[in-house]
Symmetry: C2
Subunit: 424 residues, 2 copies
Amino acid sequence: MTVRNLIVAQSGGPSCAINATLAGVIEAAAKAPEVERIIGSFHGIEGILYSDWIDLTGKADKDTLDKLSATPAMALGSCRFKLPSDYQDMIYASIRERFLERNIGYFLYIGGNDSMDTVRKLSEYFALVKEREPDAQIPVIFGLPKTIDNDLCGCDHTPGYGSAARYLSVTVRELIKDTEIYSVPSVTIVEVMGRSAGWLTLAAAMPRFLGEKKPQIVAIPETPFDEVAFLAQIRALHKTTRSVVAVVSEGIKTADGKYVGESEQSGTIDVFGHTYLSGVGKYLERLVKHEIGCKVRSIELNLMQRCSSHLASKTDIAESRAVGAYGVQMALGGHSGEMACIRRKDGEYEAYFSCENIARCANAERLVPKEWQDLEDPEVQRQIVSYLAPLIKGQAAVFADEYGRADYIDWLKDAKRCKKIILF
Amino acid sequence: MTVRNLIVAQSGGPSCAINATLAGVIEAAAKAPEVERIIGSFHGIEGILYSDWIDLTGKADKDTLDKLSATPAMALGSCRFKLPSDYQDMIYASIRERFLERNIGYFLYIGGNDSMDTVRKLSEYFALVKEREPDAQIPVIFGLPKTIDNDLCGCDHTPGYGSAARYLSVTVRELIKDTEIYSVPSVTIVEVMGRSAGWLTLAAAMPRFLGEKKPQIVAIPETPFDEVAFLAQIRALHKTTRSVVAVVSEGIKTADGKYVGESEQSGTIDVFGHTYLSGVGKYLERLVKHEIGCKVRSIELNLMQRCSSHLASKTDIAESRAVGAYGVQMALGGHSGEMACIRRKDGEYEAYFSCENIARCANAERLVPKEWQDLEDPEVQRQIVSYLAPLIKGQAAVFADEYGRADYIDWLKDAKRCKKIILF
C-alpha cells in the first residue's frame, strides 16, 4: 500500500454546511491507512500556489469535527479563481510541483459550479501528464458539491440548500406575521438569492405550500416576470386582504430575458454620479409605490440566508458531512475527475450518494423543472412540499452558550494571506 | 366588590414580546374576581371606536397563553392613531360611550412612546370627566411598555428589546464569519433599527464586546457621525485586516444634526423621476465604493430584528409576560395614568416592576447615556456587557415542528376590519 497525503480546500460562496463536508473529509481521511497527512489549503486553490496551508491530521477528534460542522462560512476560506483553459500555462506545472513536494495523492475540492470547473481542468491536466509520462505519479482530483443555490447538475439537492431553505421557510413565516398587524393595505417584497435558479425562492414560499395563505406571489427566474401582471395581481389581492407578501428571486427576468430592473433606465443615479442598479426588491418596491401608492417595503434576506447556522437543517448537516466521507472513499478508489452527488431513493425519503463525471457538473446549472413552473397548481405544490420538506427537517446542533454565543472553529486566523498586508 | 370588564389592546410597531405581555394580562385578569370579561380590542384604540373586538375570557388556558407568548407581531393587531389634544373632541365622548356600553372598568394599552401618549390623554380626559361629574364611573387607564428600541423613559429596559438584541448579537456573529472567507479587503455595513437611540446597535456590537475583534466600527445616533473619519478608519483597519464590519444605526446623524445621507443631494433619482432616499447602509455602501473602491456590501436587518421569535430571549419573554400580569394588579389597584416599568436591582441581575406617571413616559425618548458614548473604552464595553448580557439570556420556548413550522396564535383573522374591503 502506498501511503500519500490528502489535500482538501473550499471555494465559491459560503454556506452553513460546507464545513460539515470538510469535517466528513477529515473524519474519513483520518481513518484511512492510505492517507498519511491531511492538509487544508487556505483560500481554495490559492493556498496550494502560495503554500498557505494547515495540517489537519491531528484535528479529527469528535468535538472539533462537531463544532466545525456547526460553524458557518468556510473554515479554510474561499477564493474566486478560474484556472486558464490552456494546460500549457505555467500555473499547471506549478500546481503539479506543489503536489509533488508534499506527496499529494488526493485533492478534494468542495464547491459549486465554478469550483467544479477547477476539478475538471486539474483532472484533465493530470490525465494529459499521465499520457505523456506513463510513470508519473498523479493525484486523484475529486469534487464535493456545495451550494445553497441547489443548482448543481446530477444532484437531487446540494449540501447547504436544506439549511438555507430552513432559514427561508422559518423567516418568511415570521415576516408574514409581522406584515399582518396593520389595518391598511400593504405590500411586502422579500428578495431571495438565486440568479438563475428559483430553488431558494421555492423554499421561501414554503409557508404557503404548507398551508398558509401567504406569500401570495412567488416569482422565480425560470418563469418570465410581467410587471403589469404583478401589479394587477396586487390590486386584485387587495380587494380581499390587506397584506400582500411576494417572494421574488434576485434573478427574475422579463420575457425578453433581461433581469427585472436591469436596464440603465431603471437604475438610479446616485450622489456620486454613478448609475446604481439596486436589487430587484428595491426596484419592485419603487414600482408598487409609484403605481399603486400603498404602504410597501422590500426586504433583502442577504447573507443571512447562507450563514444562519442557528437555523441549519439537521438533515442537511448530516448529509453534507456524510458526502465528505464518501468523497474520501471515492478518491481512495481512484475516481478522478468526478463529483459526489446526493441522490434520493423513491418512496420514503432516503438519500444516497453517487459519482458523476465532472464534465456533467462543471459550468452547468440545474433549474427548477418546467413541470413545476405553475406554482398555483395544487399538485405542483404537493410535489414541492414532498421534495423540500425532508431537506429542512430537524434542527442541527448549535454549540452556543446561554447568551447565544456560538463556539466556532477559526482556523483561518492562521492563514498567511490573512496576515499579509494586501491593498490598494 | 364591583365586577367590571377589562379591555386590552396593542399599538405601535410589533416585537417578539408584545404578545407575551398580552398573555400576562389575560392570565392575571382571568384570575381576578373583580374582572368579569376580558375584551381584546383589534387594532389598538381603533377597535374600541369601531366595536371590533374579541372576547378573550375563555382563552386563559396555559397552552394558548404559552403559544401566544411565542407568537411574533401582535395577536390583536396594531394602529398608528394619535388622539387629538382637545378633550372636547367628539372622539373622547365616543370612547367614553363605548366603555360605558361594555361596562369597562380597566383599559390596558400595550405600546411604545406614541401609545403612551394615548394612555396619558385618555387618563387626563377621564380625570376631567370625574371633576365635572363626581359620580361618573370612569375606567382606569394603564400603560404597558413595549418597544424593541429600548427608549422608554423610566425603564431599565423595555419588553421586546432583549429578544431583538439576542437576534442581533447572534446574527452579526454569523455575518462576521461569512465576511472573513475571502483574501481580498472588504467592508460590510450592517444597518440596524433605531432612529434616535443606539440601543439596538449596541446589541449588534455585542460580538465585539464579548471578545471578538468585530464589528470594528459601531455608530449610534447619540454620537455625531463623521464620513471622513469613517473612511479613514476603514483605510487604517485594512492595513492589518481584510474584513471590516461596521454596525450602524439607521438614525446616525452628522454634527449638524442631519441624518447621514438625508439631504436631497445624497438621495438618488429613480426611474420614476422621484428622489429616493435609501437607507444609511446603502448610502455608506456607495460612499465606500466611490472613495475606497474595495468589495463592499450593506445589509439591512429590516423586520427580522423585531419578528425573529425563533431567537427570542427567555429572559425577555418571561419579563414581558410578568409585566402584563403586574399591569392588571396595578389597574385593579386604581393606578390610572401610569405605566409599568421594568427596573433592575443592584448586584446580580434581578428585575422588578414599578409604576411611573405616564407624563414622564409619553413622547419622550431614553437615549444611550453620555457616559457610554466612548465605545472604544474597555470600561464602557464592560458596563454594556453587564447591562445587556442578562437581557439576551436563554432561548425562549418555540412551538415549532421538525420542519420549523411554528404554531402561532391567529386571532386577527376574526377582526372585522380585516374582512372589510378597504381601498383605492
